[in-house]
Symmetry: none
DNA sequence: CTAATTGATAACCCATAGGCATTAAATAGT
DNA sequence: ACTATTTAATGCCTATGGGTTATCAATTAG
């Protein structure tokens, strides 16, 4: 007494229930017949129910034993399934990847990653959250996100950061502006305009780059408005409230009454980076990062 | 190596996964901490997967461990059920039915089912648990309950759901309120009252319906208090802290200083549904469901 | 910097799963 | 009827490994 039911009992029980023959069952289990006899007997004592009827020449299941056989088979099958699934999770081919992104990163990189993830690992579930640079860094640090897409130069030392996309800048002008693609010669022509920019604390890197572009052209820009939404910035430009400088790829996906002039000769580039926590244990993360960095 | 997974490992694993603390888990299991450490380590070797992250001061589950916890809970619950059924079969009975219910479902449907079950199948044992909608869904999913009585519109796809009772709504007013059965003309008269409702996460369906009743009357209700107990709601109304809208049948069984006005002309109805797991293996479940749905 | 608390290791002990030998009962063959 | 054969159960023994105590190393709190 005081014994505990174990999975061993289940395997032995199934063998006997299928063979209906102790010696054969014992052979199949690679143990001795007396050992098997004792384990089955013990099992019956633990469950306080007779499972087999043995009359010295024939073994058969009692109703209780027959019911138990079905349930034990179910449990063992479920367990096997669980082990297989566990292996998949361990390898990272199943699980969840929580992704954060800046509004301005949706144009190419993130959709591309999602498509390739679904193709290669259909069992991985993804979730998306649009968040600011700062909120993403915090979320990744706190293990609320696995991956973040940010425009930042430096991040806390717990995080890894890798550039994934580089982009030129473009000037955004109202349709009726005097300058055009052909008449535009350089930033100097814009030194008296007032500028609409992304807020400095929303994306300090972007802000610095715009400043440095103007500095290279020999002036300091007047900044009239700041916003965190590309949509807002375009609308302000449309209404003649100023001009803007944005990462070129942002112009896709909007249908507005503005014109874009790409700054091809400017050395500054807008870069988008992925961040993740170095000691994040989510095995899925590795696949995500690989897929992003080893572009094929 | 060559070790086998046993039920013992499962029990130990669940203890650690719940406590997230080896010493406390060991105490709960009445074994020593080193023994527990070794068994968990062994389990990880058998499954070839890390289940916990321990950094000397904090224990947490890996994604694999978290998945395994759910499955192991299911297996252990199912095993408990099997043992119970086995005992009943041995005693010549046909099985057990574990029922969960919302407090507000006891008035008619559940007692009715219990009486008819005992008449038709005197050998079926029943057990009852009062649980929230959410807790019932989880319990049914994990094989802790066979039947649940909930107020929900949608449930996970593993579950079946069927409406069993439909009810009008009633307004609950303090005894001294100016409105009465005869002077009540419509919900519009209540647009300036503050409302006491069941919490949204306790019963989202109920919450939505109340909102829609008020919306139909052309106002958005001020919600002053939320509770999960009908008793509490009645007491709050009694003390002039607001008025409530409840399923009509709930008014039975309480003796309180409030008055009820049934909303006969309102299209919204409170409905109670049964849920069960589609692949539940309890042989008795079918009898219970049939008795409920094929009302005689 | 000390004290306290964590999980992991090491060495030991003994409970028990499983082995071998044997027995008792049931059947088959002559 | 009497072996010969085969069944599951019993008795005894061994050794694997689960669980113990003592201790360590790492981390945190004061």
């Amino acid at each position: 007494m005081g014994y505990q039911l174990e999975l061993r009992h289940f395997n032995y029980f199934i063998a006997v229930a299928e063979e209906l023959h102790y010696r054969k069952a014992a052979e199949r289990l690679f143990i001795s017949q007396p050992g098997l006899s004792r384990q089955i007997k013990q099992m019956e004592e633990i469950l306080e129910a007779q499972l087999f009827i043995r009359n010295k020449k024939k073994v058969s299941l009692t109703p209780a034993g027959s019911y138990l056989k079905g349930e034990v088979e179910f449990i063992l099958n479920h367990l096997e399934l669980t082990k297989k699934q566990l292996k998949l999770i361990k390898e990272g081919s199943s699980g969840a990847l929580r992704i954060g992104f800046l509004g301005s990163a949706m144009q190419k990189v993130v959709p591309n990653l999602l498509v390739r993830l679904r193709d290669r690992f259909p069992n991985i579930e993804t979730s998306l959250d649009e968040l600011s640079n700062h909120a993403q860094v915090n979320a990744v640090l706190k293990d609320k996100l696995d991956l973040g897409f940010v425009r930042l130069a430096r991040v806390p030392k717990e995080l890894a950061i890798k550039p994934v996309f580089e982009d030129s800048f473009s000037v955004v002008l109202p349709k009726n502006h005097v300058l055009s693609q052909s008449s535009f010669k350089g930033m100097k022509q814009l030194k008296d305009e007032s500028f609409i920019l992304f807020s400095q604390d929303y994306s300090p890197l972007y802000f610095d780059k715009v400043m440095s572009i103007c500095e290279d052209a020999g002036f300091t820009p007047k900044v009239s408005h700041r916003s965190v939404h590309a949509q807002t910035i375009f609308t302000l430009v449309e209404n003649n409230l100023g001009i803007a400088i944005i990462p070129t790829s942002l112009q896709n996906g909007f249908d507005l009454n503005v014109k874009f002039i790409e700054l091809k000769k400017i050395k500054q580039r807008a870069q988008l980076s992925v961040i993740w926590k170095k000691d994040n244990r989510n095995p899925v993360l590795e696949h995500g990062v690989n897929l992003l960095l080893n572009q094929s």
